[in-house]
């Protein structure tokens, strides 16, 4: 999580579905129709870094942009709206979360690159304590499984283990790798004689 963290940058370019609150001329290229205006309620997938800003900054009518920083209440008043609304993506849907709740080890996070980072960024915006609680619990369960599997190297490909390992998220794969290297180093050293 730093300025130079390439994973953080890549995570920032993952896309979130959003809807525009305004019709904006000339932005049609976001929607695959260059030249046309983007219409109100058009559904677009925007990278997180862009969606973040557009969802927070209130669109101002003819006012100076500097007024932005002054009052928070303005944001809630009806005549000031953010440019876009974020729509709940598939991987935060109730169904998906219920799946996580029922069995954190069976769910495959591989299709959702940078899932944990997206969760972090999402909860920055929505302060979704419940989501974070659930995801943290899932992470701990998965981490302890990762630790167990990274220790017993011959168990990795049997039964559900293989499926689990294939379904690891990017940071979880890293975790697995580092943990495995560490266990292996110690094991080799304990076994070796000099």
């Amino acid at each position: 999580m730093s300025y130079y963290d390439i994973d953080d940058i890549l995570a920032d370019s993952q896309r979130l579905p959003c809807k525009f609150n305004f019709s904006i001329p000339g932005l049609g290229y976001l929607n695959g129709r260059p030249g046309d205006p983007i219409k109100e309620n058009d559904k677009v997938e925007l990278p997180i870094w862009l969606a973040n800003i557009l969802a927070i900054c209130a669109a101002q009518n003819g006012e100076d942009n500097d007024a932005d920083n002054d009052e928070e209440e303005n944001e809630n008043s009806p005549d000031k709206q953010a440019f876009i609304r974020l729509i709940e993506p598939e991987f935060f849907s109730k169904q998906f979360l219920n799946f996580i709740k029922s069995d954190p080890l069976r769910i495959s996070l591989a299709p959702y690159a940078y899932y944990y980072k997206i969760v972090t960024k999402w909860s920055y915006l929505f302060n979704d304590t419940e989501l974070v609680g659930l995801i943290s619990k899932m992470f701990v369960t998965r981490a302890s499984e990762i630790s167990a599997l990274s220790y017993k190297s011959n168990d990795q490909f049997s039964g559900g283990n293989r499926e689990f390992l294939n379904g690891l998220e990017i940071s979880e794969k890293d975790l697995f790798k580092t943990s495995h290297i560490s266990y292996k180093d110690m094991k080799n050293w304990m076994a070796g004689t000099k």
Partner: protein, 262 residues
């Protein structure tokens, strides 16, 4: 891959080196003059008078058949059996073993097995049992991870070291997750509460709602350093083995020396 992450732990070679600094008692076979060596002094040796020297020196002398190593009292079948029972009886606790019990026992068993009173193979097998049961406990403990605190009383350097990468990274991930919501709550809370949470006080928090991206960036590095340190400090309960600091290596072996003698 192995670059930044490998800083989370010692390599086996480094551990070996640290363990070799531990003092053991030897029984010289010949009388010889002492010598000043880098890092240690070989005292004047008199035949059959006990002397304390670093393990590495003892192993060299042993190799040249110039001494016998006096096996430490914790490396006996009796002692280890007692510890093993202790481990069995306390499923949630680790029994107290020397800080470097694994590398020392390995080296002494490998290179000086004729000095043992008990049969070495028996000691080997009990050591193996001990190691396995403790490892099992340590890995079971990972289920209890949280983002702020972890206590690993009684674990030795090797045992901490091998789970350290996983634990440090997991706790870091959990902290990032939990902070993503806390940062928001904090922006509403008073400064006093902020100070309690590990120095995350940040002037720009008031503007968080509007200026999420910049605030986020400025909160992060601060929180990173403060919380990261404290968590690492707690993981390595016995010595100050923060991996980032090379100079701690010395203090480390000193710490454990003290415990060893108790």
């Amino acid at each position: 891959m192995a670059n930044a992450k490998s800083l989370y732990r010692f390599s086996s070679g480094e551990i070996n080196f640290l363990a070799e600094q531990e003092l053991v008692t030897i029984l010289p076979r010949y009388t010889m003059n002492g010598a000043t060596l880098i890092g240690a002094r070989l005292p004047d040796l008199k035949a059959l008078r006990r002397e304390e020297v670093p393990l590495w020196l003892a192993l060299i002398l042993k190799k040249q058949d110039k001494c016998n190593i006096v096996i430490p009292e914790w490396l006996t079948v009796n002692f280890l059996k007692k510890k093993y029972e202790e481990e069995m009886n306390q499923p949630n606790k680790f029994s107290d073993l020397p800080w470097q019990w694994l590398p020392i026992s390995k080296m002494v068993l490998d290179k000086s097995s004729d000095d043992f009173i008990d049969p070495p193979h028996e000691i080997r097998s009990i050591l193996q049992d001990l190691r396995e049961i403790r490892q099992l406990k340590a890995r079971k403990g990972i289920k209890e991870l949280n983002e702020v605190y972890l206590q690993l009383d009684g674990l030795s350097l090797v045992e901490i070291n091998e789970i350290r990468p996983l634990i440090v990274e997991s706790m870091n991930q959990l902290r990032i997750l939990s902070q993503s919501v806390k940062a928001d709550q904090l922006s509403g809370a008073g400064d006093s509460e902020l100070a309690e949470k590990g120095g995350m006080v940040n002037e720009s928090q008031a503007t968080y709602e509007q200026d999420a991206s910049t605030t986020r960036d400025s909160i992060k590095p601060k929180a990173d350093s403060s919380l990261y340190d404290s968590s690492v400090g707690k993981i390595s309960v016995k010595g100050n083995t923060t991996t980032s600091d090379d100079s701690n290596g010395e203090g480390d072996s000193d710490d454990s020396d003290v415990e060893y003698r108790k």
